[in-house]
């Protein structure tokens, strides 16, 4: 008697058969400027059916993939550590079942929860990071857990030489210096991505996309829009390149629906997610 239980477009497999598991992490308590990313996964579910399951870019169809939508975690606003633990637990469970987790943020700090689980399981874990912002602060107003420190906290877990950042165009001068010293921080665009992919080789990779890497013309619906970003086609091309890596976990973050009254940014998020899921799913399948 129940029709149309809402899942993200084409994510209709059972958990058992699924090779990728999508889940929402509605959390934005440390957002320092404009909160609201907690509603991203809900809006992506609502609007994703405005999209076709077929990608003419990759000539692949979500109807041919096995992906499960776990729904949204219930996270406590105002208690960061509790929220991160719940995310880590969920990611660990999916990884433990031999599947790839794909988290939908929320603010970028949610990535830390997933990376904790992934780094435990894969000691060689590398991180590929697309973003407008460095996210490399040591702390934010004294607080170590923040959307502005998340990649620095990931570095605490994986160490030097494991983090590859692209598209970065905002941060403190010291963050840019630190990023270049301890990892690979490429400013403004995706030049050098092929080389990074080669350097990473077959090591396991956590791939985190902060959608504000896109120019605000393409993706205005985010808390801290940063002019000067990449185009949708730039991002699509970079995602397809990155998908050749041995991706073990991934996330897509920072859609803020309240600043997307017309829905165009949500449409962008849905399409990035579709292309990412297709590329990673069929790459994995080929490898097998």
């Amino acid at each position: 008697m129940r029709e149309n239980v809402q899942t993200i477009l084409g994510c209709n497999a059972s958990y058992q058969e699924a090779e990728i598991c999508v889940f929402g992490a509605p959390f934005d308590s440390t957002t320092s400027f404009r909160p609201g990313t907690r509603f991203a996964s809900q809006h992506i579910r609502n609007d994703s059916w405005g999209l076709e399951t077929y990608s003419p870019y990759q000539d692949l169809d979500l109807e041919d993939a096995h992906i499960f939508d776990c729904g949204d975690l219930e996270l406590c606003f105002g208690n960061t550590e509790t929220a991160l633990s719940r995310i880590e637990e969920m990611t660990a469970e999916i990884l433990g079942d031999g599947k790839i987790p794909c988290m939908i943020g929320g603010e970028h700090l949610v990535t830390l929860g997933s990376v904790r689980a992934a780094a435990k399981r894969y000691p060689e874990l590398c991180i590929l990071h697309f973003d407008a912002h460095t996210d490399l602060r040591k702390d934010y107003l004294g607080e170590p857990l923040s959307h502005a420190t998340v990649i620095r906290r990931c570095h605490d877990l994986v160490g030097d030489g494991r983090i590859y950042q692209f598209g970065i165009r905002s941060g403190l001068r010291e963050e840019f210096l630190w990023g270049a010293e301890h990892g690979f921080l490429h400013k403004f665009d995706f030049a050098g991505l092929e080389e990074a992919v080669a350097a990473i080789g077959d090591r396991p990779v956590y791939f985190t996309i902060d959608l504000d890497v896109l120019d605000p013309s393409v993706f205005p619906g985010t808390g801290t829009p940063e002019p000067g970003g990449v185009s949708f086609m730039d991002l699509l091309s970079a995602v397809l390149t990155a998908a050749k890596l041995n991706i073990v976990g991934m996330d897509v973050n920072e859609l803020c629906p309240v600043y997307d009254p017309g829905g165009a940014s949500t449409a962008v998020a849905c399409k990035v997610l579709r292309e990412l899921l297709l590329a990673v799913y069929f790459e994995k399948k080929e490898r097998k």
Copy 2:
């Protein structure tokens, strides 16, 4: 592995145990002014969890009721008859299982689908109608099936003396005359509702609420706001009075989320729905 499948607040029973079944009817193809009510049930699901399950007005709690959320029908835009048939079929199935259907529109025409099913099952069916608009046109630009003709079409099914209208403040002069002649049309407010309830007695009732009966100050988020309507407390009081009737089916219509950017109208719709479900559910239980 699945958390938080979205249902309308507190509607967590199984179909078997449920005594009321809620379903969405996302259809607005005949809307003549501003469309968009198709998104009402989705927004009510999204936002209903901002509401408590407990009503301090009735001292009753949805957690103590057995209500099932069927999800949304998939209705074809642009083919009115097909959509109405699907609604009729759904309502008939719920009625056939001895449960009370509660439909969430959509435009007001969806009521016709449910009333068709209810009138077949209950030849004595009366209709209680709260609305700003008469909805009594013979046709609209030649078309007999329209949100502006829906109560007239219901009259085709149930005949004279069965329809009780309250809150009406907009229509053609001939609609007001026709309504007074063939039924009971009360203008502007709910005066006389107690008398109508007494007159209806124990006959089976389909109760249809067009939320634009509320003043636009309370409920601006609708396609055709009509100044001069009732307050939320007026409507709440009228709903509690109406719930004493032998209600066999009901609906709540005409929330148009696209004209509710701040969400206050959706909050009103959620609360009207909560109070309606509680009042009807516990009235039924008492009768047993």
Copy 3:
């Protein structure tokens, strides 16, 4: 070959046969807080067809009235005196043809243009003024022509004892004192309106409605919303009372569509206009 040239609802008479002439005065250059009322007449034209021509309040129908929509004046932004002269000229022409002008502002200063014409033609002119604001400043930042001075400027033309103000709840202390001394300033609501109508008697009246006299719950779409105002039914009742006067000119001002994203305030403005036009038209007809 031309269909649907947009006019205000039901204003379909020819100029010759019309007894009331509506025109828009899209001007807001002196607005001190939030501009945008220049778009009011356009939005009223766009949305007025969402309204019925029949009033169940008065049991009268615009289809039975002869009203002409002159369209909008082209007014120069940034040059106040030029704009006022154009308005005066238009009003004088309509008055000269024995018809009643009904202007749609624009900011409230546009009233001065019409009152200039009316006061020239009717030396005994009284002014009935519904508003949240006194509009009685001597000047605004040194400038004598301003939305905040408009009724003071009208007083320059008609003198003491001719201006009746209702609903006023915002202004400088000295404005309240001045208003009470030189005219009739009634705070907050319409108490005393019947007495004012009696006192005015058969003298010619210019009737100006600043829609912000309504509470912002009813009419949020205005430049300077003032909580504590009257309800729609209060205003409707006051308009029907005022219509018994010998009205020779009138206007409806201060709808600011840019602050009415959902359209409910425009719906209120349309309905106030419909009721005003009906009441004045049929009162005049009866007098003849």
Copy 4:
């Protein structure tokens, strides 16, 4: 006495002298995702005067062209066939008077009405189609008349080898295959347009522009935004190329003002329309 009757910018000719006739087709009943394009022609009229009549791209001026604005058709929502017949009738009348119709949608299905008239008059008719979507479904949820089937329905009229599609980036896999087999479907951009123009030669052409061919960064205000589209300058250049064809009818569709709160998409629609009208008008003139 009437000033400023609103027409689309610069379309001030009489019907007799006009060589192009613009009319609005406010219809969106089959829209499957987000309706609202019915308000496009109204908003284009409202906002087009924010635009100059002179094009620095073409060094041409609408003031030197003879174009008539017919206003908007009154179409019945909820009855698709009735609406299409009215559009066909209007187009046939304009074509019969030796003029070029330029329709402003509305959803894309309105094109079918015009193409019916054009295909009757010009048995050799070709169709040039700019869009993000294939619009080649056989039916949509069983319904043959839908915005998602419109080009397939046009193919029913004109047959293989007559339809040229550009910019397409969304659809079912089978639509892409069908499109390539039965016509000329070019994905993503306008590469190959010059060749298509050459291939069409002097055959009569109906030119239909779904504005969602533009990237959502340029044109977010549409029901189904599809990231990855062309830029404004790409579209402008393609329009100027296409205008060299023997265009006998044309339309511009899918602006959805409700998703354009800031008005930038409406500004884009106005400018595309200006450039299209100028290019087609002066090309025709030169041919004579």
Copy 5:
């Protein structure tokens, strides 16, 4: 050389001469539904100059009062305890200097910071609480510090019989029971306020206004609108009654500007604040 440093309307005294000190507490990290109240004080500063300094209700003028605007605290999002400590510190300093603090939230939890300081200074402290919500949960998803627990946490500090709640219409059943048992919880409106004022007598009072006590028709711009609330005039009257108490600290909370696109809710907040400041300031002055 500096003009127009933005302060809240009429709060132009120096700190030394001021008797009331206003400050913003931009914090909303524990908000469970829709965040954004962090921007309230900024918007109140921006829009308060659209308001007059003179109150016709009280015949008092802010120009005659000595009030200082301290600006906004810089609070760390994501670390609740740090934020509360900073608020407590600020309040303690103002209290220590013999002045009355008036805090502008932020979410309602900020009240706890101020109440901590006030309860330390005034062991007999009573709390007067206007709100739609009980805010009496023991914890929220296990977290003791939350907007949904704030009054319960205040009770931890002041104990039974000291808290007076009015306007409450949402909460768990157990909260309503607990509130009635341990304090004075009045549902729905302000009936009984005079008696409460008498019962409190001359004990020191912290007065906290959650603006969502207002009906959403009046004040839609808040995170969790609750239909069925009081009118602006109801609240104004209750504020004037409450101001007769020995108020030692106060706050106004839960304006969420992101859900107030047209600004009417911000206007309501500004006016409530003006009337509150005037009433408390001149009451204090009279007492001296």
Copy 6:
């Protein structure tokens, strides 16, 4: 006791030590289409702290610069000449103190006030103008002072050969002709800017940026969006080129926050301003 008095990001120097002084000119009374730029400086102050002070493009930091934020002028709406005089006076004072004024409009007419002061002080003054619009009309509806005439009025002061315009894509045909004859008008983009910089040489330059030179995809939040504009990176590059000139005054105009509901255009304005201030400040420092 006062925290966080709001200034534009990083403009924290004292007036004495400052080498650049920023001030707001909130004026938009002559705007002919959609007003609202008066709120630009306020929104830039509000949102600029969402931006870092460090520029990765220039590797420079506002924390190392001495810039003062003067706040906003109080300008009289409705009296253009009074407003321009106040702007001229402010600019003259800053210039007289050996500092560089940087004005934030407001509509583009405000530039005339500053250019008057600059042209008096620097008889050799050149003007560099980035804009979508020519702004070269002789008058607008008879009025010489208008946003549409501002560069023509500047030409009245500085004469032929001194004005360099880039990015222009909208105007009357005669404006384009006049511009080419009397100055240097480059259409559509910044080609030729290097040559213009060389031609200007070391003459003093007033640099005025109308932000609508940007494409509406990047900057929709303006009164008259003009499709076909430059990208953010194009503008950034052009600003860095222009900053090599001997700039003595500058302004950034035409952000209209009311058409920027999501804030992305304000973010663009803030970033353009940051890059402009950094480039001009450090260029000046180097010259010394």
